[in-house]
Symmetry: C2
Subunit: 493 residues, 2 copies
């Protein structure tokens, strides 16, 4: 069984298949009976919960409050903002009826034609429309601003090609929707939130990201400006991990949301929205995991330490438990989540393989010989290194090791990104590097036309115009026209 668990596709052989197998074998998620929708299994959900709790706390520290808006959106709402409807109203789940009835042939139920809705309802693909329809009643004066709401919710987009966590028809996310009295304040909040996401990715996911601005072509439907964080996966592809949109007054105008300013004059409200989703789970998996399974950064691991006893009989187990249980208590008091797996229906070898594939950062194994010698075997998941440690003082050692693993994963990911980021000045070199995989820093003439031609030639998309990139001007790698700064191209998820 232990061998079977480990026996799956290697990254080098087929990165995409490796990912799909890993998601299932690590017990994170699986396909459901509904096309494009996944079931998030308990172990996968526990990781998502840690992400949620951390982000939620970070949001609240900036003054954001949670609320909940309806799942269903009247079709007419989507049409209020002209660009938005183009971007979102197309591939979505449409509710047309509100009742089933017994099939006259007696074999099941059918849609009751008498229960047709007057106006169809859409399962939210995103909630700007329903929320700005609501904000109209909440905002009257400058005293009501800023209004800083977030919701944790499920959304649905009828994607044609789906992959677990990365692109699913239904997914879980948070969407923040802020209303401000001035353009400056709204822009500042838009930037604040993309920075918050970047901080979360680095500090908790151990995943470095590049903060940048999307080109007009890749902008959110209805936004003036979209900020993005782009991460690099191990195969060199980019994964857009979070976005923050400055919506200007577009939605306020579409839903007629005005406020009386301090000068007692009516004015349209300024808006932004920002979100991250269960897609971050895909990013987390693909950033750190290896051919042996999942690798989790300690800050997001549901189980940070697992302790496996190796024993022959009940007396042997009792002796180990007597030694281990106080350590379990000590680790818990230190805020470290620990599992003592003394289940007797699985062999130690199976347990080792299972926790390895599930990415538990630190594994301790302890047997009769260890008891005699006052030692314990310790394995760190990131490097798979084993060492025999003194049992005494092991808790302190584990605490610092967890921090070391967290740091090491971030460093490794940063190093890989550096190694796979190329600065190019010719289109031949551009194509060569894109084919090799990685981020390509190139000059671009600023037009959608060029962006699309490059995509057609190379399957690479313009990921972002990096905020802290090199701003030396140059000439476009494709057209030779002037360019203000290098931008990032990559193939992407």
């Amino acid at each position: 069984m232990a061998k079977e668990l480990k026996n799956f596709t290697k990254r080098a052989d087929n990165y995409s298949q490796w990912y799909n197998e890993l998601v299932v074998k690590a017990d994170l998620a699986e396909q459901s009976a509904v096309r494009g929708c996944m079931v998030i299994k308990p172990y996968g959900y526990a990781i998502w919960e840690k992400m949620q709790q951390t982000l939620d706390k970070m949001f609240k520290e900036t003054g954001v409050q949670n609320a909940y808006f309806p799942l269903l959106i009247p079709k007419s709402f989507l049409c209020r903002e002209a660009e938005h409807v183009e971007g979102f109203a197309k591939e979505c789940a449409v509710v047309t009826h509100y009742r089933l009835k017994n099939d006259p042939d007696g074999t099941g139920v059918i849609v009751d034609p008498a229960a047709k809705l007057e106006e169809e309802l859409i399962i939210r693909p995103t909630s700007e429309t329903i929320i700005w329809g609501t904000y109209k009643n909440w905002i009257h004066s400058w005293r009501d601003l800023p209004l800083l709401c977030n919701q944790w919710a499920n959304v649905m987009r009828w994607e044609m090609r789906t992959r677990m966590f990365l692109r699913t028809a239904e997914f879980l996310w948070q969407e923040g929707h802020c209303a401000h009295a001035t353009a400056e304040e709204s822009e500042a909040r838009t930037v604040q939130m993309i920075n918050l996401y970047a901080e979360f990715c680095e500090k908790y996911m151990a995943m470095p990201v590049i903060i940048g601005v999307k080109s007009a072509n890749e902008r959110f439907a209805g936004a003036l400006n979209t900020y993005t964080i782009e991460a690099m996966m191990q195969d060199g592809k980019a994964l857009q991990s979070g976005t923050s949109h400055n919506l200007g007054q577009n939605f306020a105008k579409a839903f007629d949301v005005t406020f009386v300013n301090k000068e007692n004059k009516p004015e349209y409200v300024w808006a932004n929205s920002w979100g991250v989703s269960t897609r971050l789970m895909g990013a987390l998996i693909m950033t750190h995991s290896d051919d042996n399974g999942l690798v989790l950064p300690p800050h997001l691991a549901p189980i940070q330490v697992v302790i496996v006893p190796i024993y022959k009989d009940k007396a042997g187990l009792d002796a180990i438990s007597e030694k281990v249980l106080p350590l379990v208590d000590e680790l818990k008091r230190m805020g470290i989540s620990v599992k003592y797996d003394d289940a007797d229906n699985k062999r130690p070898g199976f347990k080792f393989a299972d926790y390895e594939i599930k990415g538990v950062p630190v594994r301790l194994a302890i047997g009769a010989r260890d008891l005699e010698e006052g030692t314990v075997e310790l394995m760190r998941r990131d490097t798979l290194e084993k060492e025999s440690c003194k049992f005494e003082g092991i808790a302190g050692h584990i605490a610092s090791l967890l921090e070391d693993i967290q740091r090491n994963l971030l460093d490794k990911a940063k190093k890989r990104r550096e190694e796979m980021t190329y600065t190019v000045d010719s289109y031949d070199e551009f194509k060569e590097k894109i084919e090799k995989g990685g981020f390509v820093l190139a000059h671009w003439d600023g037009t959608t036309e060029t962006e699309e031609k490059i995509k057609e030639d190379t399957k690479a998309t313009l990921r972002c115009i990096p905020l802290d990139g090199d701003t030396t001007p140059g000439v476009c790698v494709l057209t030779g026209k002037p360019s203000k700064q290098r931008v990032i191209f990559a193939r992407n998820y």
Copy 2:
């Protein structure tokens, strides 16, 4: 403004209207643009979050893990369990198409007839079917059991008459779905969870409940047995606040979920499911609130203490702040959530009324005279009593006062329930007491026929057969036939 806030319907005049107004005026929720769906506003959502966090912790302490299952359920899944489809497949939102397209007349979007789903999808009214369809792949051996999953999710039932929190088309809830190897274990879990709900209601919501069994007529569609907790609102009506269902092997049989038992023989799995919803918000509101607005038990109040400074000028405010800020820190360190409301765009009178209507348990007011005298004015929301207290040592006083308020609210609710619970032996008396409002303990012959006749005559329903009720036999209040024990009748929400 302060007066206007308070100027709403009194309970004695129109209890139902009082409730509807209170939900809006206390900023808890409001109707949305979608029929029967509400928007849960930040203040209301903050209370729900406290409920969620507390329940989630209690669930996890019993070994339950969270997971997430799809929002949409294939129509055919609903038909697998015969009783279940009767109960749930009728009034529900049906997704029939997956795309909109531009209206040829150019004015908006219409459903694309080419994008009709082969099989319609239902927005989950509850998830037994999709979950047991999934469990089939998760359960093979007795080693896989018990499987204890819960999900926090939105569900939808196309109710004809809706009321905020009490009965809405979309609502938020948790649904636990457990799988066991034996009937005994499954029954024990079913009872464990209804007891857990009762404990939550008493300890956190300060709301006493009666634990009982539903009659066959009121049982969950597809269950062998439904346990319920029934609470009494101030108008004497019952509110079903949570249920736990022993599903026997019905869903395992419908979805062919078997396991190999310790004797190596295949056997159908035993199931239970249990849930509470945002309906608890309605219960919380109606149990404690008064003609001045919401009254919150301290254990669920997002703000437990509010401090309002009363000052004439900046210097006055600074002097107060200097005194108050260390108290704010002290209270926070004690784990008490406190808000120091020094906003200068609202008068103290407005603030008093606003926090009163929002049910903040303890209010402190402090002015120049208080500073001189080393005092502070304290008001407790449950009794509206004011007292002038010494500022020194006020934190400790507040901590014990919060516990006192929590206890007092529970005692008050218990006392009211006692006073409004009647033991009757004749049908005339039954009708009289039901008309008066309250719980009526009466003998019943055990038939659905009698239950329905009583409902027709009096609008009272059989709420439950109480678990720890008086089991002295008697004769049915309507038919005179033998009865094993008294059961509870009441009008209900």
